[in-house]
């Protein structure tokens, strides 16, 4: 791991941890909201990174798995006559399971194709799930629906606040640790090796497709967990995360931060969320949208710094 990357990641993390007491002291609940959003997006992006970055597969439908996570919360909350269904002990495993299975299935079908066709078919599956969510009139359909009951571990609720913020940071840390271990495990090596040379990986006896389906499942499950957090964060159930624009945004975060690097998704999510905040404020006097700066910035990153933020901080050592 490159020291610069490590340093920046550590600084970001310290900042996010420090934000909690700071927000309370300074009376800035918005700061907490902002960082919590950042953390949730970083979790989802980290999930996507396994497929997009490490396995090198251009998947553009991962918003759907985040959506599955949030619909798990929304549907259970709506149907919860008592508190049992709103239990986070139930919702997290269920969301991860359903999103993971959906991802495995979609991955297994999509992996029959490659390149741009793969990109499109993953996107198409995402859109199907999106319209499926829109059809759920009982759960708000297109309009979405307020989630009246937050997930809770016993008395510990995930409704917006100090506790849920700290919990989100903990999940982010766990997910990054998981990614650290997985990408350095034999499984992770196979994914990365197959991205570098798929034919050869087959020729040394590795059934690459099954590994990729496995990567899809794991990455979908992580996105599902992010979806549970997102639903609690917004307290609003909406088909929006399933839409293709959300999937593209997640991919943008991964690529902006540095695809196939451990902290890339965190950097990407941070750049996305913080730049939106700063640029929106800075451009307000001219009534300009932050996209007018962010768009060319993305182009610049592609043309001048294809390795993203992590790449800018120095060539990552292998391993």
């Amino acid at each position: 791991m490159n020291r610069g990357v490590l340093l920046l990641a550590a600084a970001l993390f310290v900042l996010m941890v420090a934000a909690a007491p700071a927000a309370l002291l300074l009376g800035m609940p918005y700061l907490l909201s902002l960082f919590q959003k950042l953390a949730i997006l970083a979790i989802a992006a980290a999930g996507l990174n396994l497929v997009l970055g490490y396995a090198g597969l251009p998947a553009f439908g991962h918003g759907a798995f985040v959506g599955i996570g949030s619909y798990t919360v929304g549907i259970l909350a709506a149907e919860a006559a008592d508190g049992a269904l709103a239990s986070a002990w139930l919702q997290f495993p269920l969301a991860a399971l359903v999103a993971g299975l959906a991802a495995a299935l979609i991955g297994a079908i999509s992996l029959r194709t490659r390149g741009v066709a793969f990109l499109m078919i993953t996107l198409a599956f995402g859109q199907m799930l999106y319209f499926g969510a829109v059809a759920l009139e009982r759960y708000g359909g297109d309009d979405g629906m307020i989630i009246v009951r937050a997930s809770a571990f016993g008395d510990f609720t995930l409704a917006r606040g100090f506790g849920s913020y700290v919990f989100t940071l903990a999940v982010l840390a766990v997910v990054l640790l998981l990614m650290y271990r997985v990408t350095r495990s034999p499984f992770g090596f196979v994914l990365r090796g197959a991205a570098a040379n798929e034919r050869r990986m087959l020729a040394v006896g590795v059934a690459v497709p099954s590994y990729r389906v496995g990567a899809f499942a794991l990455s979908g499950a992580i996105c599902g967990v992010a979806g549970v957090l997102w639903a609690n964060y917004t307290a609003f159930l909406s088909p929006a995360p399933l839409a293709w624009t959300w999937s593209v945004q997640l991919a943008v975060m991964v690529l902006l931060g540095g695809a196939g690097t451990l902290f890339g998704p965190l950097f990407g999510a941070a750049a996305f969320v913080l730049l939106e905040e700063v640029l929106t404020g800075a451009l307000q006097p001219w009534r300009l949208d932050w996209h007018i700066v962010f768009g060319p910035l993305l182009l610049l990153v592609v043309l001048a710094a294809p390795g993203g933020i992590a790449g800018l901080l120095g060539r990552p050592q292998h391993g």
Binding site: R184, P186, F189, V190, R199, R200, G205
Partner: protein, 255 residues
């Protein structure tokens, strides 16, 4: 070649392999076999169908017709990894390694696959212990000991060819398909490669596709000549050397 080997059941058999690409026939109907301990060279002009044959034996190219048996079992419908697990391995004409990974790691992929530990999720992919020793042994054998920690992308061409062989050996094959292992090598490097192949042969039966006739005649127990997708001759090196058809079609001499 001793008589016992000649009588043994072939390790690898192909019957009636046919393949055409968009109307161009690559393999017409090829019968091919490889006996234990044997080096069976396949020669012929470019476009003769040698690489297509290797691809079909390996399972990378699905034949239009015909069958492949490996160790007495029909593997025609098996995927590449399944065949590898039954003892088949190959090298590529154009270097095909894992760039971005160290030389040691390049070899470790096959070792792990063979030990069926590739799918471990949580354990670190360490190259220590028994696995590391096995990898080091292979690298020593191909002459890359000193380069184990280097990114495979920065190796020289000669080293790439050595690594090609090392990766193929990492799956502990019983049958090795070598696709022009000498391609692009200088005289000295070429000689070392011939020595390496001579060292490997024996416990490992080898199908050798090669243009370098010196190497072929130095290594091969048997030679098959592919021209326009068909085997026009097959036999001991000496008989092939003298075969008029072969001379005409391949060596370019008038019959």
């Amino acid at each position: 070649m001793d008589k016992a080997a000649a009588l043994a059941e072939p390790l690898l058999t192909a019957r009636g392999l046919k393949k055409s690409f968009g109307g161009v026939v690559a393999n017409a109907s090829i019968d091919f076999d490889l006996r234990p301990r044997e080096v069976h060279a396949v020669i012929g002009p470019n476009g003769g169908g040698k690489t297509t044959l290797l691809g079909q034996l390996m399972g990378e190219i699905l034949p239009d017709a015909g069958s492949v048996r490996l160790g007495g079992i029909d593997v025609t419908a098996m995927s590449v990894p399944e065949r590898v697990m039954r003892g088949l391995a190959r090298s590529y004409q154009v270097t095909s390694v894992f760039p971005g990974f160290t030389v040691l790691e390049n070899v470790a992929f096959g070792l792990r696959a063979r030990r069926r530990i590739s799918s471990r999720l949580w354990r670190s992919a360490s190259t220590g212990g028994e696995l590391g020793e096995a990898a080091a042994a292979i690298l020593r054998r191909v002459g890359l000991s000193g380069r184990s920690g280097v990114d495979a992308a920065v190796l020289s061409h000669g080293e790439h060819r050595q690594l090609e062989i090392a990766i193929a050996l990492s799956t502990s094959p019983k049958v090795l398909l070598l696709d022009e292992p000498l391609a692009g090598l200088g005289v000295d490097e070429g000689r070392r490669m011939v020595e390496l192949i001579a060292d490997i042969r024996g416990p490992v039966a080898i199908v050798l596709v090669e243009h370098d006739m010196e190497a072929v005649f130095a290594l091969a127990d048997r030679v098959t000549v592919l021209v326009d997708g068909a085997a026009i001759a097959s036999g001991a090196p000496d008989s092939i050397r003298d075969d008029r058809l072969v001379k005409a079609a391949y060596l370019g001499e008038d019959a």
